[in-house]
């Protein structure tokens, strides 16, 4: 079985990172006290010390070489290229690939920076990875218990309405949840249509990406921002950008669909049995409300801090994670297995996200630390080049098109922090970025979310939608076909308009 083997690798890695933590930290502290020098250790020590006081970790970022970002680049390139070049190998071994790149970074990082490295790895796992996966899991589990039954006729008007509903839902149930809820009814509604490819592509644009830009629940990059101090409702500030992109894309879609509908002389088969539309598992909307509520709660209350393995984390954050897990379990218990089966619900996509993102998060540590060091780090040239808001929009966007948009967001979020507030702690810098330099954060957020639609690998639901469409017989363009025939033609000009107007 694939699952236990990959799980074992993952567990090994986690154990490897977790087990020596206190021991190394203690040894390191005494070493430093004894010798009082050795620059790397000193940096690590400062970092560990700083952590205890809740400040940033600029020193480690100042000493890390640029090539320490190579495993991160390789991890992202593996995600970009292996599904295209070696799909079978990738499908069965992606967890091992992720573990491999995590080890390539983790082992030497721990060897050289000892306590500092342990702290950074634990920090990214406990503060970023765990809540990130828990939120995705709970949204995926809860939305997987909602089933839309009934026969729809896929006319241009109906299809446009489905896309609007999907885009509206995406910000509240996650792009993955909204896409999974609607893609099968959308495909069923159009199964009598000849040309369905463009429909699925626009579904990916709107439901699996652009629609998720209004709340941290919508798209993973925004949730990472939320975890780093961006307030829940701040993301509403990119509503004008989102509305502009959505309206433009919906108008284009409506005309395209009308053109094809007429050209095909499409008519709904008369023998088709009509089934009234109905939503089953509606109680899952309550759980969804619980998810929204618990995420909101964690941003509004202050219950103090708790120190776990040397990492300080707010009690309300742990509480939120616990509630999210309970809501997921409640949804599993309350939803009949038959309903999930009819929804063709499977754990595979979320397991895949969990495996890949542990690799992404661990390998991206040096990159984030160097960026946080601002002009004192080896990525100073990048910080100096990326100056204007539209730079942030296009650079974040361009990279989000080909790399997963969540780590890309975090990278440029840190670039902005390093650029404007180098030396300040994250807790001090983020509120300033949200107010004094809000346009930059808007550019990063909009760029990361919108451009995730530019390729199949820009955002996790893209490939899931593609997979389901292909399974049900809708031909989908190749990786480059998608970019050339759709992204460059419809998305890039739309983003250019957004850039001209807002950035």
């Amino acid at each position: 079985m694939r699952f236990p083997k990959t799980m074992a690798v993952l567990l090994f890695l986690l154990c490897f990172f977790f087990w020596p933590a206190p021991m190394i930290a203690v040894t390191h502290a005494s070493d430093t006290a004894d010798t009082g020098h050795a620059p790397e250790n000193h940096a690590a020590h400062d970092s560990t010390e700083a952590s205890a006081h809740g400040s940033g970790h600029a020193n480690l970022g100042e000493v890390l070489p640029l090539w320490s970002c190579i495993p991160f680049a390789c991890m992202l390139l593996s995600i970009a290229l292996l599904p295209l070049l070696l799909p079978n190998f990738w499908h069965h071994h992606f967890g091992k690939v992720s573990a491999f790149w995590a080890a390539v970074l983790g082992v030497p990082f721990l060897w050289i920076f000892k306590g500092g490295a342990v702290y950074e790895i634990l920090h990214i796992i406990l503060v970023d990875y765990v809540p990130f996966i828990i939120l995705l899991w709970s949204l995926y589990t809860v939305s997987g218990g909602i089933l839309l039954r009934g026969s729809l006729r896929g006319t241009p008007v109906v299809n446009t309405i489905i896309l609007i509903i999907g885009a509206l839902l995406a910000s509240w149930m996650g792009t993955t949840g909204a896409a999974m809820l609607l893609i099968r009814p959308f495909l069923r509604a159009n199964n009598y249509r000849k040309n369905r490819t463009f429909m699925v592509v626009f579904f990916i644009f709107l439901v699996a990406n652009v629609g998720g830009s209004l709340t941290p629940l919508g798209d993973p990059p925004l949730f990472l921002g939320y975890l780093h101090g961006v307030t829940f409702f701040w993301t509403f500030k990119i509503m004008p950008h989102m509305l502009l992109v959505s309206v433009l894309l919906l108008i284009i879609y409506f005309f395209l669909d009308t053109y094809h509908y007429r050209k095909e002389s499409a008519s709904v088969p008369s023998e088709e049995a009509k089934e009234a539309l109905k939503i089953e598992g509606t109680y899952n909307f309550l759980f969804l409300g619980g998810v929204v509520g618990s995420v909101l709660m964690s941003g509004m209350v202050d219950l103090g801090e708790i120190n776990i393995l040397g990492i300080h984390r707010a009690v309300q954050d742990w509480l939120r994670d616990g509630i999210l897990v309970l809501l997921g379990i409640a949804s599993l218990i309350a939803t009949p297995i038959k309903l999930r089966e009819d929804n063709e619900f499977t754990w595979f996509p979320i397991i895949e996200v969990a495996y890949l993102f542990i690799g992404i998060f661990i390998t991206m540590i040096p990159c984030l630390l160097i960026l946080k060091a601002g002009t004192h780090g080896e990525l100073a040239f990048l910080i100096n080049i990326v100056e204007k808001p539209y730079h942030y929009f296009w650079v974040t966007g361009a990279l989000s098109s080909f790399l997963d948009n969540a780590p890309t967001y975090l990278t440029f979020f840190n670039t902005a922090l390093g650029s404007f507030y180098s030396g300040l702690t994250e807790a001090q810098a983020v509120p300033l970025l949200m107010t004094e330099n809000a346009i930059y954060l808007k550019a990063i957020s909009a760029g990361a979310v919108f451009f995730g639609a530019c390729s199949y690998i820009g955002n996790a639901p893209n490939f899931m939608v593609r997979s389901i469409a292909e399974e049900t017989g809708t031909p989908m363009p190749s990786f480059f076909g998608y970019i050339i025939k759709y992204s460059l033609i419809y998305l890039v000009p739309t983003f250019a308009i957004v850039s001209l107007i807002f950035f």
């Binding site: 079985m1 970009a80 799909p87 992606f94 063709e344 890949l356 199949y456 490939f463 593609r466 292909e470």
Partner: protein
């Protein structure tokens, strides 16, 4: 109530063909057609992380399955039985149950895969899920089984599974249903064993008089079961025992050389059924004999 149409599901694990051959004997009891079914789990071909759908792999897996089935169809045809092939992609349990409903089968035959440690501890394996949810009888076929008996590792081959079926009854409606279903084995079963176990939990702290009353009553009922079986033209014998039900049933099946165990599905509430498994499910899981569960 004969088994005219049977769904035979396989993962093409070793000895799957032998398992199929064991059910061809049902021809003598009226079997007319077999739906050869293979489900490719969706995760095998779909949701390639950041990729798409492995259409070529799906086609290849389907072609391989078809080729194997076509070879099997020759053997089935030699026995004068019709057969059809169904190869689908999806969630195995849901697809098996859905095909069974579509085709209107009278019996689902599924193989038991080697259990992992987790599945040994956790009764709710995939196969248990089908046993729990199927509205038609399910035969859990076990062609060759390794098991432990009196500290010895033994291997058993179940090739004539319908020779001496053992009907275990708890007097419930599902047990009555199972009794009625036994007539489907007419012309096939040499003797039908009817057994009942007075459960230790029930007899604990019971007075001697009450116990002998229950014993007497149980014997009467067992005789009644035998009479019904004999009326339909088959031989029957009964055995009564007391103790822990599952262990006693396994012992009775060994002592009296049963060839399979037939039971009505015990009707427990959802929670106990899912996490603990009813007696019927535990027997299906623990016994070295094939288990036929009747809803």
């Amino acid at each position: 109530m004969i088994f005219k149409k049977v769904l035979f599901h396989t993962h093409f694990r070793e000895l799957a063909l032998n398992s199929l051959k064991t059910i061809l004997e049902l021809k003598k009891a009226g079997l007319e057609s077999i739906i050869l079914t293979h489900i490719i789990p969706r995760d095998e071909v779909s949701f390639v992380p950041y990729g798409g759908y492995l259409k070529e792999t799906e086609n290849q897996l389907k072609a391989e399955a078809r080729m194997r089935f076509e070879d099997w169809q020759k053997i089935i045809a030699e026995h004068g039985i019709k057969s059809r092939i169904r190869i689908e992609v999806g969630a195995p349990n849901a697809e098996i149950l859905s095909i069974a409903e579509e085709e209107g089968v009278d019996l689902i035959v599924i193989g038991r895969k080697k259990r992992t440690l987790v599945e040994k501890v956790y009764v709710g394996s995939h196969i248990m899920d089908i046993l729990r949810r199927s509205p038609v009888p399910v035969l859990m076929s076990k062609y060759m089984v390794q098991f432990e008996w009196e500290n010895e590792q033994l291997t058993r081959t179940n090739d004539h599974i319908f020779d001496r079926p053992m009907l275990a009854t708890d007097w419930s409606q599902p047990s009555e249903n199972a009794l009625q279903r036994m007539s489907a084995l007419k012309g096939l079963a040499k003797t039908i064993l009817v057994v009942h176990v007075i459960d230790a939990k029930l007899s604990k702290g019971m007075s001697r008089d009450r116990l002998s009353e229950i014993e007497k009553e149980s014997k009467l009922r067992l005789k009644n079961y035998c009479r019904k079986i004999e009326k339909s033209g088959m031989r029957a014998e009964y055995h009564l025992s007391a103790g822990k039900t599952v262990q006693e049933l396994v012992r009775l099946s060994r002592d009296h050389k049963a060839s399979m165990i037939v039971m009505g599905k015990t009707g427990k509430d959802w929670f106990s059924e899912y996490w603990l498994g009813g007696v019927s499910h535990q027997i299906a899981e623990l016994s070295e004999l094939p288990a036929l569960l009747i809803p």
